[in-house]
Symmetry: D2
Subunit: 399 residues, 4 copies
């Protein structure tokens, strides 16, 4: 379970953007970042409202003098601090429409970035962000956090090693129920911006969680998408963005994938689920029971792989993503923290002047971000054309 910042031999310093009162994901970033005791939260611009931003600082134990009124102020001021005091990275936990500007400002000052998903407001911003990252030396991680689950990584390694044979079918879905009624009308902060096209972007459910389901399929299989046909629905009357949707994907190798996202399924909490069919075996994993994965092969008993860093059959990345022994459930925060864990490895190397991987990272990065934004754009376009098949491969996306 031990991980350290290696030669750097100090904690990394975090500046958090977002996370003010009523926020969800800001607190998650804060918790995930410190889970391994490799980072400390030293600065924050916790709200777009300067007063609220400062008022929220004590709940993160951020000292008053580094509780900033805006992200610009934080980035500028921190950049002016001595190197041994200023933040190492900026975590962006704001609504989608501000990701790009915060990331851009951080990158331009040389700060590493951990950005929430979907990466930007639209594809154009995402493409621009690829250029910014490539033109810089920063570490850029995107919190498609489900990729941090040890068994997701186990599956990925098994698939990439060919243990499932050729992948032919993927069924990925992400089912929630919390937007079953129009709670956005009641001032509920999480729903308000997610259902507002000026903040969320072109898609609702498909941007918020459909991208996770799509990313998971891509991450686990490496399959290259070719075309998509999508059908988005607004089931809650008066809502402006989709709260349900379904996409069919043709992969380059001839495989067929489906992605379903719902936010209107009564009682469903966070049911991200994936099944992958290969010519030699099949895998099933469910986020709500993340410590087990089922591997099936005709003619053999079904095999339940559990999260188990000591198992002889645990893959390297599975082991490296564990903190505690089998049977001691790890969950959402631990998986989220694994995106940070491996990004920290890169940040520590950068700070120590060592080389680090920028493209083939184990954590999602800017290339996955552009892939996701392309997915959103093409899904929305396909849906508006009645499910027309549109190209889905983006040349900047990881392959």
């Amino acid at each position: 379970m031990e991980t350290t910042n290696g030669a750097l031999n100090r904690k990394l310093r975090m500046g958090l953007v977002g996370g003010g009162s009523g926020a969800f994901i800001g607190r998650v970033h804060a918790t995930a970042a410190v889970l391994d005791n490799r980072a400390e939260i030293v600065a924050g611009a916790l709200s777009s409202n300067p007063e609220r931003a400062k008022a929220s600082a004590p709940s993160y134990a951020i000292p008053d003098d580094r509780a900033y009124g805006s992200y610009q102020e934080m980035i500028d001021t921190e950049a002016s601090l001595p190197e041994d005091q200023r933040i190492d990275f900026v975590s962006i936990a704001t609504p989608n429409h501000t990701h790009f500007e915060v990331a851009k400002a951080a990158i331009e000052k040389g700060f590493n970035v951990v950005c929430d998903k979907p990466m930007t407001f639209d594809l154009a911003q995402a493409e621009e962000l690829v250029k910014l990252v490539e033109g810089s030396d920063v570490v850029f991680a995107l919190t498609h956090n489900y990729t941090g689950n040890p068994l997701v990584r186990q599956a990925r390694e098994m698939i990439l090693a060919g243990e499932l044979g050729e992948i032919q079918a993927i069924r990925s879905s992400y089912i929630q129920g919390w937007l079953r009624t129009r709670i956005e009308e009641s001032g509920q902060k999480q729903s308000a911006w997610r259902t507002d096209p000026s903040k969320s972007g072109a898609a609702g459910a498909f941007g918020d969680i459909g991208t996770h389901a799509y990313n998971l399929a891509r991450y686990m299989t490496g399959l290259i998408p070719e075309q998509v046909s999508c059908h988005l629905k607004v089931f809650e009357e008066g809502r402006q963005l989709d709260d349900y949707g379904h996409a069919v994907i043709r992969f380059e190798n001839g495989g067929l994938g489906t992605v379903t996202a719902s936010q209107i399924s009564h009682g469903r909490e966070n049911d991200l689920f994936i099944e992958i069919d290969g010519t030699k075996g099949a895998i099933q994993w469910r986020q709500e029971e993340p410590n087990a994965m089922i591997f099936r092969q005709n003619g053999k008993p079904h095999q339940i792989y559990t999260r188990d860093p000591n198992a002889p059959h645990a893959s390297e990345m599975h082991k490296a993503a564990c903190r505690i022994p089998a049977g001691h459930p790890e969950g959402y925060l631990e998986a989220f923290a694994n995106v940070y864990r491996f990004a920290f490895d890169a940040m520590a190397k950068r700070a120590s002047g060592e080389d680090f991987e920028k493209r083939e990272t184990i954590y999602p990065n800017v290339y996955d971000g552009v892939d996701g934004m392309n997915f959103i754009q093409q899904c929305v376009a396909s849906s508006s054309e009645g499910g027309a098949w549109l190209p889905l491969k983006h040349e900047a996306a990881r392959r």
Copy 2:
């Protein structure tokens, strides 16, 4: 658990077509038919090969003199027997391409019919069969057997009573793995005809099991389909019919449905699964664990309904479909036998000269059969046109 043939006061007499050695579904029909001790198998035409037909009779305890060499011989001879000896109904458990001719012959002699699914070889035959049934007085039941599960009926009654509100989304899938390799090449009887377009019809997986998933969605919700967009795949090279497929359905009320069928998913046995989202509640049911159904509503604990004829919350048709108390698992054969149980009620009434319901039956009937054949035809057509949206509503289908 007690059920009887009522005023008829005798067992019904069954003539079985199909079921010779190597068969699967013939034995299932035979077992299901006698499970409640309301019928006896007195005659059979167990194979299209006359010698094998007769040789198989002892394994069904069919006396030699009523072990026929062909269905024609059985139907003609039985029709000539005295009324108190001849069969009451013909069960058709043959490959798809012969369903129509056997059913037609039986109906023309006035025999009731229990027919396996899909109902016919193609839609034209199905439409013709509707006319034949409507022009006769026979009971016609179609063994979409999963509708016989008590909890499927519970869900149906809850939905029709409005307990889930308006139904907006349905996700139905039927995942198997047994055709992962081309076992049809090895002489395996079940796979040989199912993968042969001259016997199975226009579709493979979608005809064999996709129709079950579609039927279940229709049966449980009563939603009227409007259009379908379908994508069929042949993943096992050289196979002539689809072994994987996916359809998206637009319902008349604006709802969206998906139907997935696979026969190439390693290790998957018979995973028929359905989730139904309504504005007031959502339901989930899985065939492999048929004695439980999950009902979810935001703000309440998830509720597990179990098969329980004594539960205060059990619906009428749930109770009527049970044989034993809760916790004593019922399964596939019991559900199959429930199609027979309720068809027997109608047959007994007919034999006693009483009225019986022909259209709104609790068991699937000829109207559901034509619905299924229309589904197959339109799915195949849509797929061949790249997933074009085609009409899915058939005027003869139940609504």
Copy 3:
């Protein structure tokens, strides 16, 4: 799935004792006996009340002239019928206190017996019954029906073949909730006799279901018991027999077992569960999900064995106990019918003059019955002595 009566080439004829209106297990015997179409119910003494006995006959399709007013009348009359008409076996589905007298009468006339559990009212009767069976030529089967589950047999064969190594610990429990209140006061027939010491015997829950849990442990492992320490409780005030109990068992090989039975656990249906720890592996099986068994070994993924007659790893008795392919759930009735299936094999052999196994039967027999009655007696005695260790090995029990 095919099974027949072989050279006998006719159905076996059943005479049912018990099963009148309000009964549970009589209908189960009737259904299980005909499930494979190898037997027909031709006679019955369905109630201890002669009028009710005859009135119940139509619901079993038993002709009036063989609907008897008492078991004595049935056995005597049937014995006087020509050999090609009279019953082959008597199924005893009455309250415990009458099992012995019915079985004795049947055996003395040479009829095979299928007897419900617990075998008799007390141990003395059980020991006497062993002598009666041994002094006769009849087939005697005891419906510890859970032994009929294919995966129970798979586990048994794996254990007897040494695949789990030495068995050291067994945890077996049978948890129900239906006697949580004193429904016996309301005239509910099932509970009335089970809670009445003059009909049920010395134990309540421990006699009714504790014996099943004990039998399952013995059946699956073959371990020989040495001593028992037991604690029985009456949690519903005023009830005369235990509705909860717990026994600790020392096995001869040094192993430790526990048996728990409850009838007062809210909402529990029929949760028979067993875990078996061996030096090389461990097994877990739950009756309410009978089509799966989990086999665990340190250092390997957990393996789910499913009921699958076509699996390469399915044992012989697993295969022989299946009717339908994997994924098509079999349940309580099918398992119950497997006790009949293999008893029928023996009965058919006997009727054909062939040899048949009497001691090492795959179905529970009179030796298992005496084992169970000894278990009840010693548990009741131990409990009344505050959990004193008492001998548990009975010399007539199977080993």
Copy 4:
């Protein structure tokens, strides 16, 4: 999710004892303590070997000058530091035999203590520790971490509020497999001290995990134990302490409990499981799937309570123990951190000069520790007397 140290307005400072390389629980304490960003690890005595103690400091980001060679040195030195620098609490994560001496030293210097379980080496030490705590002003928390699970607390509150009626039966078990072979012979650190009576105490499995199962039953129900009858086994030849055991408990109210612990069950990971039967309802919870609890009542669908801070039916302590919304799994570390979270509340109050609860704490405390040590002592004694009933109520234990 937000929690803070309130008026104290700074992080609490932690001194960790134990946790050097090869340790498990030290890292868990370290992670749990910082999870809510309310504490920082500022000092450590990470091993009983001074060199290893200091070498381990960087992996906890402990500065060299506060990496101590022994717990005595840490406690003495820290006590001499200015109040605004020195540690607030000592976390004890060492083998059992040293808990008492570390705790004693800490308490005597006025440091709060978070101690791992079982609390001490033997009962006498535990009783002495009660006096030490009562004679001081320190916060003392015992990491029976499973009590930190939100749904354990939900169940506790429901039970204490009478929603299950009178509690009559409890079945609690903790099943592991990691000591199936004598890995202690191979130098595996975790197993070496746990199987060594000079370090572990009088019991092996029963001390290590049996106490957890016992504590959970006591914590959730508040039932007062009266007597225990216990059977301990050493299944791995040559081992000195029990690796399997079973206890039967009579509660004062007439209820019956069972506690089973195993470390030799192949493939079992950390299966702590509890079922509780009350006259009005029953509850089931399993540690390996901690985000769900099943509540059953006769005549109603089974209810699955999920961890859900926003549920109308979530109890106060359930909500207060959550960090993230439903469907985002929390696990072992989060539950562990909840012991810290609520102990931090008390420590912050103490540091701010406010009153704080010492006896009826939501987290396990010294009174629960003495209860556990008494349980171990009486179980070992009962087992050595063949399962004799011994008193189990300790007057210092919580009631």
